[in-house]
Amino acid sequence: MIRARAMAVALLVSLIGAGSAIAGDGSGAGRTPRPNPPKAQGEACVRDTDVMRRNHMTLLMHQRDDTVHRGVRTKNPGTKDLSLSGCIGCHAAPGADGRPVSYADPGHFCRACHSYAAVSIDCFECHASRPAPAKTASGSDGTMPDLARDMAKDLSAYLDQGRDQTREDGR
């Protein structure tokens, strides 16, 4: 399965190569239709474009085992963030409403090539295919200083109102 996918992508890459040789002008408007993935944000990808085209699935596979089994979520020393959500963050393509499109939309970054090469993609059956909307500030990120502040607030409220009804019994 994996090998089949890798071969399909290798084929895709060679097709892209062949496409550019024929079309020549880089616009994608030649005799041979070419995928036209949307441009990403950020300065540079985690690897060169050539490497990413051929090997992105291998990098993701390696990272997923590191993350799920070994709990390594941050970037490894000396390398950049290889997480899928990192990919999704930079490669989000805004739709008509300004919100990044999901994999269901043909304008999705991954879909541009995967539809072209007819390679189905399993990632998005479980992973979100677009960044989550920005969270509204909750005031607390659950770390110690916030919790201590919250609990101190609770404590003074508790002392102000007298004995807490919920603790009346069972103590």
Binding site: T74, N76, C126, M144, D154
Partner: protein
Amino acid sequence: MSDARDSRSDLAADRRALLRGAGGLLAVLLAPGVTLYALGGTEAAARAPGEAVSPKVRWGLLIDVNACPAECDACVAACRTENGWADTGHSATDPHWIRKVSVRDPASGAAREVPVMCQHCASAPCVDVCPTGASFRRADGIVLVDRHICIGCRYCIMACPYKARTLVHEPVHDQTADAPRGKGTVEGCTLCAPRIDAGRLPACVEACAAKGAAMLFGDLNDPNSAIAKAVAARAPARIRADLRLDPGVGYRGL
């Protein structure tokens, strides 16, 4: 990597120092028998970037059932928001990473609503029966499903004595970034592993701190942690202790 390994003992020393420090452990005596605990946050649990989870740590929960009001479901609500699961309208197959279970002692009539989630067993039956290796126990004691290799056979659901796992029956979209979940794979409480990896408390514990303050989270293997001290002071009850699965979750007042 070797750097990370060398600094591990330093990290452990740092952690102990932090826990002793004023910011590390907060224990407020409210009234006799009513104590609020919170475990040190960010620095206390942080690993060096790129460092794997360590078997020196065993994460655990201690839940004070008497401090958990019957009507409160802050932990369940927080888990839903954090991990993006919700009722599907089919109650027989709805996901439940954590639920409140009603228990009643027939002799005294005392009734409680107990939060129950995956107990993160050291001898986990779900791991034993899994034919693919998808169900596994992380080095730091957290029991997880690797959904990349789960085939949805549901053996683990049958094996778990705590009814802690459910199968996703419907397609899911727009999951949260830290909790991927999809149709045909099994899921259960992850103890908020992504949050723990970032040095944060599990979502339920954070939510509970503002309500009943009935949950205590920490490293059972660190004798200086609040949870280890609380467990050492008074042995917690385990659900189905007769099965001797050595759960990471303990209860007081059961």
